[in-house]
């Protein structure tokens, strides 16, 4: 297994209390596999990604438990220096906002080339050539000319391609992309997602896509993990989750997506608000908003049940009543 996260816990110590951002998250990604982590803001999806990458701000954040196994080695117990080495060669991250993630006063060629100078000890000239090559690979037109340009001279889609080129530079085994297309227009979104899918195939990388929009990742992802209040509440192959969600939150989330082919003015809305992470409801965190909630949901935290559907078991759901949800009784 390329990456395995087990029972990860992250807290944020604030002046007015402790926010429990990640509460026992576990998942695994293999080479050539794509996992999409789906959740709304505050669900803990980005914090999970940052904890895996080792780029959490500590303090205020604190990893209070769990393991992050990269090729079997627990990154959390490594010294910062060792960890950096493993990370630099093995994993890379793509951020949502390319404009603020790139350095505005360095040309993109210098920024891409820096990776080769620092990590591979190349000369500046060779590094520049590699930078052009990378820009070609992410299909930036006229790469040889544009390598001298600065980030602000590129359009949003092109900037995101440069971010992808940077992530690819050291040929990592795993890429984590945090909302890679959220800031882009729909016509450009499709171009960038296609590029990511192609590159993953070409390099047989593991890919983790953090997103709030199922529609964007549905083409590329193999599995989907849905997060709510710092937990994975359901994880399943992408086809199954859409056809028959086994958790009421997943179902509600799918229902509230506005659809091109659905006319009519009423959209399904989940009532209430996501929980305050300083004060997560007892029992199932989703119970105050859940149409299926019963007494047991208010007291007992649901474990991750194995969902057995037609004799096959590839999914898990953190709902006491996953059977009813799966079979559409609510």
């Amino acid at each position: 297994m390329l990456l395995e996260v087990r029972d990860l816990h992250v807290e944020f110590r604030m002046r007015d209390g402790v926010a429990k951002a990640v509460n026992g998250v576990g998942f695994a990604v293999d080479a050539g596999e794509t996992l999409a982590v789906l959740g709304e803001s505050g669900s803990g999806k980005s914090v999970t990604a940052q904890a895996v990458m080792g780029i959490l701000d500590t303090p205020p954040a604190r990893i209070t438990g769990g393991e992050v196994l990269f090729r079997g080695q627990d990154l959390l117990t490594l010294k910062e220096e060792e960890r950096r080495r493993v990370r630099g060669a093995g994993m890379a991250m793509i951020f949502q906002d390319a404009l603020s993630a790139l350095n505005p006063v360095l040309s993109v060629g210098d920024q891409l080339g820096e990776m080769f100078v620092v990590h591979r000890g190349m000369s500046k000239k060779d590094a520049r050539a590699r930078a052009v090559d990378l820009m070609d690979r992410v299909r930036i037109p006229a790469a040889a000319q544009r390598v001298r340009d600065y980030p602000h001279q590129f359009s949003g889609g092109m900037r995101q391609r440069i971010m992808i080129a940077m992530a690819l530079a050291l040929e990592p085994a795993l890429i984590i992309a945090d909302e890679p297309t959220t800031a882009l227009d729909v016509t450009v979104q499709a171009q960038v997602m296609d590029l990511l899918a192609d590159l993953r195939r070409e390099y047989r990388m593991g890919l983790i896509l953090i997103t709030h929009d199922l529609g964007v990742v549905a083409d590329v992802a193999d599995r989907i993990a849905v997060m709510y209040a710092g937990r994975i509440v359901e994880s399943a192959p992408v086809h199954d989750i859409y056809k028959a969600p086994a958790h009421p939150y997943t179902r509600a989330l799918l229902d509230s997506i506005p659809r091109l082919d659905h006319r009519g003015r009423q959209l399904y809305a989940i009532k209430g608000l996501p929980p305050n992470l300083m004060n997560i409801p007892p029992g199932c965190a989703f119970h105050p908003r859940c149409p299926m909630a019963r007494d047991v949901c208010r007291t007992d935290v649901p474990p991750l049940y194995e969902v057995v559907d037609e004799g096959v078991s590839e999914r898990v759901s953190a709902c006491h009543f996953w059977r009813e949800c799966l079979h559409g009784r609510s």
């Binding site: 729909v186 016509t187 199922l214 529609g215 992408v238 091109l260 003015r265 809305a269």
Partner: protein
């Protein structure tokens, strides 16, 4: 246009921002053509959706409509009166009737003002709208209307979530009882589940107060849920406009078709049935708009004629005789009907039509 009376008529609307060179002797060397000839009619009680990608001029259009910017040319008639020529008291009284809801609920509310002050601020500018003694009660009513607890009147914006803040923005937009609300991407900063609540709120407020909306967004599926008619913008112009059915089920402009086909589709089965058109390249710069048809540089159908002649926004010739849904305004020399959205997919298993309101 037949049917209900028009409340807003926009014709030939243009907004160019000059680009200058030199400090002492400023010389104009070009212009950003943000809005470059927009015409449409908004009927009373109707919602017109305007969609387009970033840089197409949709936000500038919104600012022109509420008179935050003066147009370079063209007119905006509110109940027959051209508001672009008004000033002073006459302008102020028209402004009361056209209000705006902004995109970003995090930056459009003053963090140092209480909710009561924010929602009540329009009354400071238009004191005739509510007598002083009544304002607090009015503000509480407004909070109630948008689904917030009237007790929150003394709280500050940071104490609210994104969706709640957008409700505050909507309450402020409603304060003067306007007839038209221009909403510029009102839900694009919100989470999916909260988005739905705000869209439903806007729809129910429209019924309650008989409002007319200009709803500006980049998300075609959101626009479909709320709009009666939809206009598609590209580089400062409307390239296709028609009823919801005409645009979504019978688009004839290649840009609309590409835009529709690019909307992410969460249903794996519907996705397989759908055709995807991926446009190459980016939107050209609004300082340097291509000759003829402005979409031709990204269009797979472009021919010589497209570089020479500007296609007018009218019913294309080949559809003029038929009365079908393909016969609507589309600015393309080679307009062709092409259905890119698959027919309505069956509801999810176990899903009944929901009537729930947020």
């Amino acid at each position: 246009m037949a049917g209900p009376e028009p409340i807003l008529e926009v014709s030939g609307l243009v907004k160019h921002y000059p680009l200058t060179r030199g400090i002492l002797f400023k010389k104009q060397i070009g212009a950003v053509k943000a809005v470059d000839g927009v015409d449409f009619v908004l009927a009373r009680g109707e919602t017109l959706g305007i969609v387009g990608e970033s840089g197409c001029g949709k936000s500038t259009l919104a600012r022109l409509l509420v008179n935050l910017e003066k147009p370079t040319a063209g007119s905006i008639r509110f109940k027959g009166e051209d508001i672009t020529r008004l000033s002073g008291r006459a302008l102020k009284s028209v402004r009361r009737n056209i209000q705006m809801v902004f995109q970003d609920p995090y930056t459009s509310l003053n963090p140092r003002m209480t909710v009561g002050d924010i929602v009540g601020e329009p009354y400071d500018i238009h004191p005739e709208a509510a007598p002083k003694g009544e304002r607090r009660r009015r503000v509480q009513e407004l909070l109630d209307v948008v689904g917030l607890d009237p007790e929150y009147i003394n709280r500050y914006p940071h104490q609210f979530s994104g969706g709640q803040r957008q409700r505050i923005g909507i309450a402020r937009g409603l304060a003067l009882r306007p007839e038209i609300i221009v909403a510029d991407e009102p839900v694009s900063a919100l989470d999916v589940s909260v988005q739905a609540q705000v869209i439903n709120l806007l729809a129910s407020l429209q019924d309650e107060f008989g409002l007319s909306y200009v709803f500006i967004a980049h998300d075609l599926s959101i626009v479909r849920h709320i709009s009666d008619r939809v206009g598609v913008m590209y580089l400062g112009r409307i390239v296709e406009i028609g009823s919801d059915e005409e645009i979504y089920d019978h688009p004839t402009h290649p840009y609309t078709q590409a835009l529709l086909s690019a909307v992410p589709e969460p249903d794996p089965e519907a996705r397989e049935r759908r055709e995807r058109i991926i446009l190459s390249g980016d939107v050209p710069s609004p300082t340097d708009i291509p000759s003829g048809c402005r979409f031709r540089t990204r269009c797979w159908k472009a021919r010589e004629r497209c570089a020479l002649e500007v296609p007018p926004l009218a019913v294309p010739e080949e559809f003029r005789r038929t009365a079908g849904p393909a016969a609507h305004d589309s600015a393309c020399h080679f307009a062709e009907e092409r259905s890119v959205v698959p027919a309505e997919s069956p509801p999810l298993p176990g899903e009944e039509p929901r009537e729930e309101r947020a």
